[in-house]
């Protein structure tokens, strides 16, 4: 097993992240469009839907009734036309999202390598590398999804077929479901972690070593499989740093921005909701947007830091 200098990797990554702020643009794009991979903590919260009230007030039901009447007056052909338009918009949106995500990933990986080799790093020097690599990175993503789905399907089929074949005995059926099912779940989780590791190495093989997607996946599997422990350790380090820095940043932002927010809300607290004037609302919106953007900036820097850690680990394991 390779002797990995984790502290030197972290120090070097911090240095590269701080000195090459142009790369934060790619970090920002990956934070917003996804693909920032490896960042721990600070996930956006899921808002679960609230239970609808059973007794609607009269005015609400009148509005809903009017809306229903209006909806039924619009011809079906119009709805079909609108539906096709929305469908096309969604397709374009997904395609754009995939392109921008993988372009940013490729540019960031290449940019970090250039930074490590003391080459100049700007948007102009790094963007073309992303443009060269994004198609292969998209194909790699599709290969990974295909393999994961195939394994999931095979595992589910195995459990289901066994369950039905053993229908002559309820006891054996339950044991099969319990033991084999649990083993399959654990094996799938390990496989999912390994797949994530494979993707990390495969991306770097594509961008830095010009591998084709399938060759990169195979070599990435080999690297991930033979270096499972060092890769897992790096993943845990990334998550721990991501969580601590992300949460500290969020708390600090809340404290700093919380004071002006409180000052703005004082009239509302003292005089009630009628004190909600336009300047107060605008002020609150600006403070909220500032908070969101500060968090995005912190996550962007963390994304660059994470990618740098993976780049340097890859360099140690592959070279």
């Amino acid at each position: 097993m390779a002797n990995i200098g984790y502290s030197s990797i972290i120090k070097r990554s911090w240095h590269l992240t701080w000195k090459n702020k142009w790369l934060w643009v790619y970090g920002l794009i990956l934070t917003i469009f996804g693909g920032s991979g490896g960042g721990g903590g600070g996930n956006f919260p899921n808002f679960s839907g609230s239970t609808p009230k059973e007794d609607l007030p009269e005015k609400t039901s009148q509005v809903l009734g009017a809306a229903t009447n209006w909806l039924s007056q619009v011809p079906v052909s119009t709805w079909v036309f609108l539906g096709i338009g929305i469908f096309l918009l969604v397709i374009v949106g997904v395609a754009v999202s995939l392109i921008i995500q993988n372009w940013a990933k490729g540019a960031l990986i290449a940019g970090l390598q250039d930074a490590d080799n003391a080459k100049p790093v700007t948007l102009a020097t790094t963007s073309p590398r992303g443009l060269i690599a994004f198609k292969h990175l998209i194909i790699l993503g599709l290969i990974t999804i295909g393999i994961v789905l195939a394994v999931l399907l095979a595992t589910s089929l195995l459990v289901a077929v066994g369950y039905f074949l053993l229908s002559f005995s309820k006891v054996i059926q339950t044991v099969w479901l319990g033991v084999v099912g649990a083993t399959a779940v654990i094996a799938f989780i390990i496989f999912a972690i390994l797949t994530a590791m494979v993707t990390i190495y495969a991306e770097r093989l594509i961008v830095l070593q010009n591998f084709s997607p399938w060759a990169a996946w195979k070599k990435g599997f080999s690297l991930g499989h033979h270096n499972f422990l060092p890769t897992a350790v790096m993943g845990i380090i990334n998550m721990a740093i991501g969580c601590s820095v992300g949460c500290t940043g969020a708390l600090a932002s809340l404290l700093i921005l919380g004071i002006p927010t409180l000052i703005l809300l004082l009239p509302v607290i003292n005089n009630g909701s009628q004190a909600f004037t336009a300047p107060i609302i605008i002020g609150l919106i600006i403070l909220f947007l500032l908070f969101i953007h500060v968090q995005l900036l912190v996550r962007a820097a963390l994304t660059v830091f994470n990618f740098s850690n993976w780049n340097l680990l890859f360099k140690q394991l592959y070279d």
Binding site: L82, L89, V92, V96, I100, S127, P128, L131, L296
Partner: protein, 171 residues
């Protein structure tokens, strides 16, 4: 690169672009007299506009607003962009520039080469092709503002007369 366009001319071109496509949307709403159908058409027009702008940039060097203002987009070799690169610059590049309160666009004002982030990402420059092009741009701006105000008034008047506004709860 010499002869790069000033940020104000680029801003003028951007505003012209917006004012050119708004009447198309308003005319659609007037012709269809149906907000839902108009919304559907706007979605299709939006998609067509993406392709049309890419074509204009790759064929003529700029979008409608830029062509009116006498500026155009060129690569670092002073060539026109390819269609794919034009789409990449104008959509993905613009998305990147829109981050952090449109910092990528504001960068045009501070960069020595007057390049925004979308220019750097696509390795392009915006240069002046017609020295007094900004004059035509200004005249077009005034004309388009008047046209847009008139069309908005006309749209609201037609919808009010047909009772369509009250159908959607507007008085």
């Amino acid at each position: 690169m010499t002869n790069t366009a000033s940020p104000w001319t680029r801003l003028l071109a951007y505003i012209l672009e917006f004012l050119i496509y708004t009447p198309i949307t308003l005319i659609l709403i007037i012709l269809t007299r149906d907000l839902v159908l108009s919304l559907a058409l706007i979605l299709f027009i939006g998609l067509i506009q993406v392709i049309f702008t890419g074509y204009l940039v790759s064929r003529f060097g700029g979008s409608l607003g830029k062509l009116l203002s006498g500026i155009s987009i060129v690569t670092s070799n002073s060539n026109k962009l390819s269609f794919r690169m034009a789409i990449f610059r104008n959509y993905i590049g613009y998305m990147a520039s829109s981050l952090l309160f449109w910092l990528g666009f504001i960068w045009i004002f501070v960069d020595k080469q007057r390049r925004g982030w979308h220019d750097q990402i696509s390795d392009t420059y915006v240069v002046v092709t017609r020295k007094s092009g900004w004059l035509l741009g200004l005249v077009s701006l005034v004309a388009l503002i008047i046209l847009n105000i008139w069309l908005v008034y006309l749209t609201l008047a037609i919808f009010h007369r047909l009772g369509i506004l009250s159908q959607y709860g507007w008085q």
